[in-house]
Amino acid sequence: MGVETRGTGGTGTGGSAGRVGVRAAVLGAVAGAALLPAGAAHAGIIGIGNAVFGNTCVNQGSARAEGATVAGSGLGSANQAGLPLDLPRNHCGNSGIVCTALFMSSV
């Protein structure tokens, strides 16, 4: 099915204070910056429902082909038959709101 199922290899490295300190020192040396402690601020959500307006996703793998088959009849299906209920909902990214999600669409 056209959804991401693999786990990431990005887990498993420690997040200890000492380790973070080393990383901060390295980056600070490179970028010339003084770094604040991680997680120093988590701002509140402004507005209700806003979090749902920003997700953006992509078709992946077999979902693209499957979707094309299921809904290939396009407008005719829309007006004369039912919805393509077998169509899967793709997974989306989760880094928060991005411009493309807000730009031309409203969601």
Partner: protein, 418 residues
Amino acid sequence: MTGLTTAGTPVGERAVTGLLSLSGRALPLLRQWVGSDPGCGVARALLALATGDRWDDTVLKEQLVIAHRDALAAGEREASLVYGVFLHTHRQYRLTADHLMGHFDRWPADEQAGLMLGAFSECGDAAYRAHGEALTERQAALAGPESWPWTSWLAVTRAEQGRAREAHTLAGRALALYPRSGVAAHALAHAEHELGAGRDSIDFLDEWLRADPRAVQSRHLNWHAALHSIACGDFPDARRRADTALARTDVGMRAATNWRLLLAGQTPAGRSDPDHIRELLAAPGGTAEIFHTFNLALALAVEAATDDLRILARRAAADERPDYRDVLAPVVRALAEITAGRPRAAVELLTGLGDKAERIGGVRVEREIIQDTLARALVDAGEPARAAGLLHHRTTTRRHHAYEDLLLSPRPPADIPV
């Protein structure tokens, strides 16, 4: 029955206007519309479009089956619109775009269908993006210059095409027609970023948000204001916005702010929890979309999480998707090299990328951070002249470019007075 407001305007009309303008009243009005007219398929579908991301699959399908049934009774346009909403809410953006092309052929300049135009860019396919731009141009022409929604969407298109002055004019026209057009306000923020408007743009965004603090884009427009603050050297303001306006979930916007601050030698705002970033990457769909994955990589870079970046880069390099292999992987590797204190290696990776960087997704303003990173790496690698050449178009065309000046500074000051 359609409910009426005290002013006599049907609630459905107000709900659609609220959605088109990204008003903070959009969701309450949509709910009110569905409540007062439960047999209106379009109302139910637009509510699904706006809030379906938080519904589970079963609820979403149930609601849209009801909406489609009711829309079929209302007419072909309504049924087609609901069908498009079904595809869009299932994040089948390519199919949504295909459907919209047929829909607009039959119902030109349909504003409600315009709410889904983002599908063309969210496909992650340059050809579809171009189709979407051409379609927007055609529909805007058909709608005429008095249509604020289409003028707003055309402004967006021009901004993304790099036609900043046209985008600026169009956004201004849309806002003159309807001052609460959130799409136009957003397009204006993009155009003014390219023009280096600085404080003027910040003041506009603050005033615009004051009138509707719950506007759909409030966090995002605050982020744009933070970028303007960075551009004109007001780093405390950028940090304040990141710390007070962004939500915990806004990992990408926070990272994009903080990485810029770090590149310019400034103190970052409060950061994301590294474990939270790792959880997001590990979650189902965590790397499903290239631009979100890139944003999470930036968040790792802010944490100087070199090991995590190397692992993510290897994973991207092994991905079957060419954009991940050819574009994301070298960018993430470059971020890892920078955090490891190896700017020369980052220069080689990012220079080799060239125009392929566009394939990392997002929009111009968001992708620009790759160029910023290369400029910083060039300076740190002892090649300030190449860095200056890279940013020449920005330092010569943007009125405010304190940020670029700092990127090109061999030894960035720890802070600069505002």
